[in-house]
Symmetry: C3
Subunit: 468 residues, 3 copies
């Protein structure tokens, strides 16, 4: 199923250039500076349970598509909220069959590409998945997963991962990261600081999270100064487990830069319960500026992932909880929203703020002009729904003429689907090489320069931008 | 003028694949589930009057372009409002000549493609239209139109139309549909329920429309319950003339889901005259949810066509009235606007809501993520200004990676220009085959799968989505 | 470095068509109807100082990119605000070297193309620029600039410029234009009327500007009627120096059409100091309608360049002032914003209003539908960040199917970078020929029509639209 020329432009001269560019970057180590794999996998190094548990149940790209066509989440084994009383399919093979029967739904999607890559490269499966081949697939994968070479660490090494970052809450004790470190295994798995649970007043359990945050740091996190000190301590703790970055998933890109007295008063309001929506928004925005201030001191790179309306489907949320495919992008402003932060720190050469978007209209209108001016700003790669050949193509089309390649930060896979990691990096490398090949054949770039740029996009820029 | 390879990608390998895909769908019957042809044509089966009356006078794509370059609507024979005292060109040949002289304005537009297709396939005209050939064109077409094989029913059959839907107001008595049915002709012409005149408080004559609605249904349409009952009765009446869908052309995609008491109060406010703009908007939004509720009972598929600022040009509107090319798209939100409707009915597997857009930025940001999640939601094809090769291409580019092909509903022509129907379906088939061919040559889809998908997009999905 | 086929599509058949189309327009005279070159150059006809002063210091495309990667503006010799006390690099060769060392940053940008075109065609430099070749470049260019054939008028003639417009404030005495006229040189350099300094209440020194405006015109510019009379006089004065157009650079596209009493009251408010932001916006909008009214009398073509958030970076603005690369586009509405102006004058066939955008989402959604309807409206070419092959391609892709080619106005370079002018027109011609070639090979346009259209886009439409 995996053709060696997949994703390269059809025109033969361009394809030949793309192929040459790709050959030199295909086998570069994987630098995965941002993602959501579970550190427990690398810590415990247990076998993955079965094909459905590995591929279907945890992957919102998959179950959202099946759900959109009438397949119930119960029938896919998606775990419901505790206490919901919902009974789910227990038979993993049946789940796998349901998925296989609906394989045609994924035509033209990146999920299809990622999975075919994993099926063929990991399990030697090269007949198309279908209702007919479902059992053969299931048995082949299930059998393989029992072998030691399919355990997490073995796959990590086989994938050629040089470094991978996971993402943890400040309330996480990083026990799995500690266990990895103490295990003597030399795979480089680092954490990243994602403080949403203690920064976003709308986060479920925000008040309780603040108490726990205080306990962990021995600070009075119900005072503004104690709260900030707690962040500083916790960032240091995360740094001691390799963290080089923070990550912020806010509903908008709003930032604020209040005076100390105003910030203190705001903090009191948001910690007193019944937070007004505009206060919650203002506080999140103020905290981005506070995080940038701390980054000026401790050198952590900031990532901002804004613009998702989380849990758009309340019925589904009530039954199954967070991250069940019902997060929908919304229009996102950057030019006004980021101004307070940029007014304060945008001209700093030693600070790196990496901004992502789910609103592609911002690429050429706002993000490329901003990143092509402010020293502190860089553009994250095509994200989430746009982590696909077309999405990547639009990212380059809409940012390069204004911001060039060097205000972008290479690729990150941003995934919790471990076996898809090599496929995702492969798609990114092929897509970037295809884009560069078109610049070469239209005589805008020499092939030598394209080789250098391809290498930068596949490897160097991610390492540099994330200080790895 | 019609090259057999038109619209296929230039790259030879891709073109060859596109051609093979197209060959198998080129002659499939036309399913036209949504449009605006006049049922009277099929009922009376009279000859079309003359070339100008058939092609120029009723086609807003044509006269808007001529108008934009300084040609007066009077000189194109466009009928003014009753009582306006405006004198228009009576000589149909002169109108045709004006159009022919300005043919270069249509370079690069779909209008050009549709017309050339009709000129050549229907009338054998294959020399370019120009001031020089205007009379030859006129005479050839005028001559042909007198023949029986150019009457509406003969063309319907020649076009290979399996089924066509027209669009009528609830106040329409469907007399032409009755006449078609009683004629014994077996062409399948069905109606669709477009209740804007009795749903939109800003619609001209809304109050009078409600009275007439009451008379037709024998319900007290000035009470909320009577009003809803009238809709139910009228929907049933439309169903008896084949309707399988409703259609809603609102200025925005706003929906609402009020409690009964609130809805009743709102209904009283909008029926008391002097409706506040926000009440009108709220009422239209509430009615989308009411229509969905009725669809749960009677199975009619809902279509939402939002986002057009109607009658942008008041001078023109005063002189010529509705639908004169001065409808301009505006920015349209879906993610928040559709939420009340989706909160209530989005998870229903037996309901189909087909959403269209005139704001292409919503494709990848909002519509594909929504349709790729909610079981009730499907995406209508590229609409109106975007019913063209480039527009169709962007539709697939921007929706497929997130929503796949199977959350879309195939093509509908949405036209009042009868002779353009085969051309429009042909352009859609060629465009989709070209898109699929690129997936094949970049090794993302097998050619077998592409054949199946091409068939689905050209035929099956429209039948299924519209329950035809 | 300059390949004869650069920017043409890679596919050989399409490339061959593009080449044939381009051959016939490559050497057409340059019509430059809108730009920002300094009329003093043509008036005094002095040699350009040195390579850094010619290419680096005044070009915000260049220093913004270098700044975004941490190069200080001081180190690029960018002049600070008077009295800032900032010391800048005085050694022009060092500035040039810094630029050359960072040449890779411009990969994929139009700046790279423009500069390579100038380097090779003007100075015979065809080895890639780099740290290594920096001095050779510097010396070669510096040597050439001393020669008479590199003086402004000689370059003007060598570039094949038939006519070029500069852009001046109503407060400008047009002395350089006078000097050009009196010099007997027959290069056609005309001015354009850009009244922002006396129209925009937020413009620095607005009140003082009004006084000066009064002195220049001998009108009482603190009365509404005197102020309007001053505009009329000054427009006439500009016309006497060849002006055929006005230009308006507003933060939004908002227009207004107030009654005289309201307009007078508004004028009193904005001239009394402490103008409220909404009054400033309303006044700018009202003045667009006033300008249109004057254009109805004096025939000047209006240009509207809206949607830039100027001076987004206050730190930089405080230190270096205006136009230092910190202007960032923002979302721009047209459909509602232009309505008051279009309600009043949109149906006029003798008025031409050329609208530009920095928000590409408006192309297909708002601008093409508006320009494809209103006789007075035309679309300006891809502007600023979008004056690049990809940007131009999107402009045609997103406007042609709705507005055709003939509601656009050809190309304008809009630049202050004199040596880049031939390159910019060359890129535009190559881009348009490539777009047309694709229409030809996909059988949507005959090659004869494409030749005619290419000529129109390269030459005729600009002359006609700008009445040159």
């Amino acid at each position: 199923m995996l053709h060696p020329d997949r994703l390269f432009p059809a025109e033969p001269t361009t394809r030949a250039v793309a192929r040459r560019l790709y050959e030199r970057v295909a086998d570069l180590p994987i630098v995965s500076p941002h993602g959501h794999t579970d550190p427990r996998w690398y810590a415990e190094n247990e076998s993955f349970a079965d094909p459905a548990t590995l591929f279907v149940v945890p992957d919102h790209y998959i179950f959202r598509m099946l759900y959109s066509q009438g397949v119930a989440l119960e029938d896919l084994g998606v775990p419901p909220r505790a206490g919901s009383g919902i009974r789910i399919e227990a038979d993993r093979r049946k789940i796998w069959r349901r998925f296989a029967e609906n394989w045609h739904l994924f035509r033209g999607t990146p999920t299809r590409m990622w999975l075919e890559h994993a099926f063929e490269t990991l399990f030697g499966l090269d007949a198309p998945l279908s209702a007919k081949t479902a059992d053969f697939y299931y048995d082949t994968i299930a059998e393989a997963l029992k072998k030691p070479e399919f355990r997490p660490r073995a796959l990590f090494e086989r994938f050629g991962i040089e470094v991978i970052a996971t993402t943890e809450s400040p309330l996480d004790d990083l026990r799995w990261h500690r266990m990895i470190r103490e295990s003597g295994w030399n795979g480089r798995v680092i954490t990243a600081y994602r403080p949403d649970p203690v920064v976003d007043p709308d986060y479920a359990g925000f008040r309780d999270n603040l108490s726990r945050f205080g306990e962990l740091t021995d600070e009075d996190t119900l005072t503004w100064s104690g709260y900030l000190a707690a962040h500083r301590k916790r960032r240091d703790y995360f740094k001691s487990f390799g963290a080089t970055s923070t990550d912020h998933g806010h509903p908008s890109a709003a930032t604020a830069d209040l005076g100390t007295a105003e910030a203190e008063a705001l903090f009191r309001r948001v910690t007193n319960g019944n937070t007004a929506p505009e206060d919650a928004e203002l506080f999140r925005g103020q905290m981005l500026t506070e995080m940038a201030r701390m980054s000026m001191d401790d050198g952590l790179v900031m990532q901002i992932h804004p613009g998702s309306v989380r849990n758009h489907n309340p019925t589904l949320f009530d039954r199954f909880g967070l991250d069940k495919g019902a997060d929908i992008p919304a229009r996102t402003d950057y030019v006004h929203a980021l101004k307070p932060l940029l007014d304060r720190f945008g001209n700093e050469r030693d600070l790196t703020i990496i901004v992502f978007t789910l609103d592609e209209t911002a690429y050429s209108r706002e993000l490329a002009p901003l990143a092509g001016h402010y020293p502190a700003l860089r553009l994250g790669p095509a994200w989430w729904f746009f982590d696909a050949p077309g999405g990547m193509r639009r990212f380059r089309d809409l940012t390069t003429e204004t911001a060039g390649f060097y205000n972008t930060v290479g690729f990150n896979d941003d995934t919790r689907a471990f076996p898809s990691i090599p496929a995702r990096h492969d798609v990114a490398r092929r897509s970037d090489c295809s884009f560069l090949a078109e610049l070469v054949v239209t005589h805008r770039l020499s092939e030598d320069e394209a080789h250098e740029t391809a290498h930068d996009l596949a490897y160097r820029l991610a390492k540099e931008a994330y200080r790895l």
